[in-house]
């Protein structure tokens, strides 16, 4: 039984990884063939770095992801504080509307934002491009921040804030020194989710970008539409490498902080 489950696990992992490894292997191929390896080369990587469209959309993607996730984190954390203090009915209404971008298919969110931007473009000289992309990315990110921060308030002792004020904090100190550290794990995971979703988003960006301001996924899409180019393989390889490094680092940091908290627990015992 144990053997069967190991084989099964191996098969599923193979299914998940074989396509990626095929992509990686053929990124080093000297010809454009997808079946025969005729030699080893870094040519496609060099081409990739000389490709201005890819490089500018990469810079655009990172810039948008940083601004959108920071804005979404601040907006969402502030919103969570306010929503937490609302009465039952308004709270339920706001949370339900906040859930829309999460539940709705991405294509509907994209299309609805596009309709709004078209409306503004006709009346207020708004152009499709960086601004519309940024607004769209903030809009689909904030709900994830709120969703991550809200539970932290539920876990927090509601009298902590008052206690801090009784002990001489003004309301600003009480927030930054007492409340914020309590909800910090939620804020951080909300930020990380927004950042990765923003980097990876294709569908909503596709409907809200302009011709001169694109994100990397949109550029990748137009590349796959045009012709076969091993540059895409080279790009995939690099993205795969970045993801692996990021995940290993994340795991490493988590394990270290886990063992550290274990140690302090042991010491306090």
């Amino acid at each position: 039984m144990k053997k069967i489950s190991k084989v099964y696990l191996g098969l599923v992992l193979m299914f998940l990884y074989v396509p990626i490894f095929v992509l990686i292997v053929f990124s080093f191929n000297t010809t454009k063939s997808r079946t025969v390896m005729s030699g080893f080369t870094f040519e496609w990587y060099a081409k990739l770095f000389r490709n201005e469209i890819i490089m500018s959309s990469l810079a655009n993607t990172i810039l948008i992801a940083v601004i959108a996730s920071v804005t979404a984190t601040i907006l969402g954390t502030a919103a969570a504080i306010g929503i937490n203090n609302m009465k039952k009915l308004p709270k339920a209404i706001v949370l339900n509307i906040t859930n829309f971008p999460i539940i709705n298919p991405e294509i509907v969110t994209g299309v609805s934002l596009m309709l709004l931007f078209v409306f503004f473009a006709a009346r207020m000289n708004l152009e499709f491009g960086f601004v519309t992309l940024l607004i769209a990315h903030i809009t689909f990110s904030v709900p994830y921040v709120i969703l991550n921060v809200m539970p932290k308030f539920r876990q927090m002792d509601p009298f902590l804030y008052e206690a801090a004020q009784d002990l001489g904090c003004n309301s600003r100190q009480a927030f930054f020194k007492v409340v914020l550290p309590e909800i910090m794990p939620g804020v951080v995971s909300g930020f990380l989710m927004s950042f990765t979703f923003s980097l990876d988003d294709f569908i909503i960006s596709y409907f809200t970008c302009g011709s001169d301001s694109q994100t990397l996924p949109v550029t990748i899409y137009s590349m796959t539409r045009r012709k076969v180019s091993p540059e895409i393989n080279a790009l995939s390889t690099l993205i795969f490498l970045v993801v692996v490094i990021a995940l290993v680092l994340k795991n490493f940091v988590e394990r270290r902080s886990e063992s550290r908290s274990l140690k302090t627990k042991e010491e306090s015992l």
Partner: protein, 269 residues
Amino acid sequence: MKNKLISAPYLVWMVVFILVPLLMVAYFAFTDKDGNFTLNYVADVAQYSQIFVRSIWLAAIATVICLVISYPLAYILTGMSKNTQSTMLMLVMLPMWMNFLLRTYAWMTMLGNNGIINSIFGFFGLGPYKMLNTEGAVVLGMVYNYLPYMILPLYSVMVKIDKSVIEAASDLGCNTWNTLFRVVLPLSLPGVMSGITMVFVPAISTFIISRMLGGGGNLLIGDLIEMQFLGNAYNVNLGAAISLVLMVIILLIMTIMNQFGSDDETVLM
């Protein structure tokens, strides 16, 4: 902390960029080009019932395949040591972090008539088989892209099942099958339900997978919507009407799923 004003910026944002765009979708669906009320476009959606049926059918097949693959996998995972579990989870999640366009592109190059799979068949004197631009390829793309969305919620529910409950069942005379069907399955039902929604919703509304792997002959709802907004068929009102119908279908399915699932929302993430 008692200040509700702090959420005001988000509330404004929410109304302008979440609520108003969705209302605009509804508005465009029920008006004609001059802004007069009409039911024509919503009625026109019926012409595309074939595409709706195909989308629901293919997404349902993909969801069932994902469930069949993931259920034993998640169960096997819970029986492993803590360290192997976290490594395995990381391996399952890693491909998810690569952009889905690249993952789909990988299959596009592998399934083609002179792709690597057909050349392996050719080595044994078989084929070439037409695999790209078929319904099967679309289902494969959906399964490949959304499999982790099924594995993760299943795993997170199963890992919480108390092992002593399973032992108790066998002590009280259940055989392996009875334990599985009468103890493990009912306890893991919330995970099954959230897995189904997490795979079915993106699968039914995709438009890239169908275009890259299904060619032009296997249009799905997503392609239909995209064509009305950005394609040659430009017709915003019809596109809004189709989006509205898609939203209603998904809302119905989610409501049905929630009847079976539990109120444990944490399963979703």
